[in-house]
Amino acid sequence: MWVVAVLCVLAAILPLVLVLYYVIAQGASGINLDFFTKLPKPVGEPGGGMANAIVGSLILVGLASLVGLPIGILGGVYLAEFGNNRFAWTVRFLADVLSGVPSIVVGIFIWAMVVVPTHRLSGMAGGAALGVMMIPTVMRTTEELVRLVPMSLREASLSLGATHWRTVFKVVLVAAKGGVVTGILLAVSRIAGEAAPLLLTAGSSPFWSTRIDQPMPSLPVQIFTYAIQPYDDWHRQAWAAALVLVSLVCVLSVAARYVTRGRFRMVR
């Protein structure tokens, strides 16, 4: 029985090893200074890079955090501090529903909400779509971690005359900081690689684009467009972009583990 179970684990990890191997083997050759500093070249001209997509991805993640973090963290605080009523149960259930909604459907939602009224694809819309996708993860981790803060800490703060909101912001959230940061890192690592909603919201652009009311290129969308075209040079760049993306996600995952190490055991 042991043998079968071990084989199953190996079979589950094999794809990870294969994917990482190919991403590193194929991507490493495309990684150079140009990749990080140059704009994409037109078809046929070798060279060029993805600087604009890298910057675009960072801006999009920043915008998404502006949408997702306040709602996620404060909503999570509400669920943990006042969350014993029917309203909170509804919010919890709907947060779970939201986390199960396919990313492309979230993209269509933001398309109808933002892109249609403003008549253009924009970084703003992309950030909003990614932000909506961050909410459930951040909210549920914040709730769980805030709940884990021992009652005695709150009581100590309240007994010194602090009000409830001061207690939450100065004591409870500080104690739960590591866990909340973990939630944020996990959420960011999830949305940083999303391409589907960005196709419909942020679009793409071969130029520098730092204005959030203009279409904004991003690494995942760039990987997709390059990979499905028949040009070898583009494939090489797509692999390089995949390597950058995977490294980013790995760093974020390791950081998420490192932050919570020892403090509170992550409830999972």
């Binding site: 990890i13 994917v19 529903v97 939602f109 009000t163 999972r268």
Partner: protein, 323 residues
């Protein structure tokens, strides 16, 4: 005459400096942010229904049974996409289920403690790899690898309709395999949590009756966790149905219904990703919206069922359900 001290006292009495005022604001502000989730879901549902009304009115139920998808003549039938989504997801679960059950049993019951954490981390990493990266790997590694295998299978078993198609590599089988890899981590993580939630007394009772370790797992433990494991599989199904990029890159994007798993096909999320930005006709957009609506409703139902099943075994929040 009122001194500053008196003034402070009277303000305190009225609850302005004591912060009760602030506490009220605090409670209602956080509530407002929590309510955003309800607003998002409500708006999402409203917009999807409102924007797909033209298609719903024009085609009613024929939308689900129609096989023709012709934007030029405004004839839209979604059956090929529904078929592609259902078959590729079913294929994925068929491949992923035995492996994830075995892996979950290993992680929760058999693995030595020092091995559990690193293994769990690797499986989390598998879930964290972005969908486009699986897609590019699928195009350049998996598909070329599948081509000779499909050719060989076609030669030996070509008389079975399942294996009768041309061995392109790109097609339903590739999509199913990629999806299987992508749903593995979530099924493993949730099943592992469910198995851990099985009370020790169940195992002890089995051991007391002379059961071996394996008999204890196969009998009482798995039976106790049955509903939760089913929930984990359904949760994986929800993931597979909505997966967009990786599938779009390897399935071939051809709206046909073929019994052969080598043939190219099309799924609901893929058609949204490919056609939504190019759609200009009002009815075309509405038809795509209706597909999104279908997808939305199906994933809600599936997630609700899955969470109920998981809760029935592991009471409390199924926190292993990580996004």
């Amino acid at each position: 005459m009122e001194t500053a001290v008196d003034r402070t006292r009277s303000l305190k009495r009225r609850g302005i400096f004591t912060g009760r005022f602030g506490d009220g604001i605090f409670k209602w502000t956080t509530l407002l942010f929590a309510a955003c989730v309800i607003a998002v879901i409500a708006l999402l549902a409203y917009l999807l229904v409102a924007d797909s009304l033209p298609a719903i009115r024009t085609f009613s139920w024929r939308f689900l049974s129609g096989r023709t998808w012709d934007p030029v003549h405004d004839v839209f039938g979604g059956l090929p996409f529904v078929y592609g989504t259902v078959v590729s997801s079913a294929l994925a679960l068929l491949l992923a289920f035995p492996i994830s059950l075995g892996a979950a049993i290993f992680l929760s019951e058999l693995a030595p403690p020092w091995l559990r954490n690193p293994l769990s981390f690797l499986i989390e990493l598998l879930a964290a790899v972005p969908s486009v990266v699986y897609g590019i790997w699928g195009i350049f590694v998996l598909v070329p690898f599948l081509r000779p295998i499909e050719a060989w299978l076609g030669m030996r078993l070509g008389f079975v309709p399942l294996f009768s198609g041309p061995p392109y590599g790109i097609g339903m089988l590739a999509a199913g395999l990629i999806l299987a890899i992508m749903v593995l981590p979530i099924i493993i993580a949730v099943s592992r949590d469910v198995l851990r939630a099985v009370p020790v007394s169940q195992r002890e009772a089995a051991y007391a009756l002379g059961a071996t370790r394996w008999e204890a797992i196969r009998g009482p433990v798995l039976r106790y966790a049955r509903a939760g494991i089913l929930g984990a599989i359904i949760l994986g199904l929800g993931r597979a149905l909505g997966e967009t990029m990786a599938v779009t890159m390897v399935i071939g994007n051809t709206p046909t219904i073929s019994p052969c798993i080598f043939d190219p096909a099309y799924t609901m999320p893929s058609v949204l990703a490919n056609e939504f930005m190019e759609a200009t006709g009002r009815l075309h957009i509405a038809a795509l919206m209706e597909i999104a609506l279908l997808l939305f409703v199906v994933t809600i139902v599936i997630n609700a069922i899955a969470r109920l099943l998981i809760w029935s075994v592991a009471r409390g929040a199924p926190s292993g359900v990580k996004e």
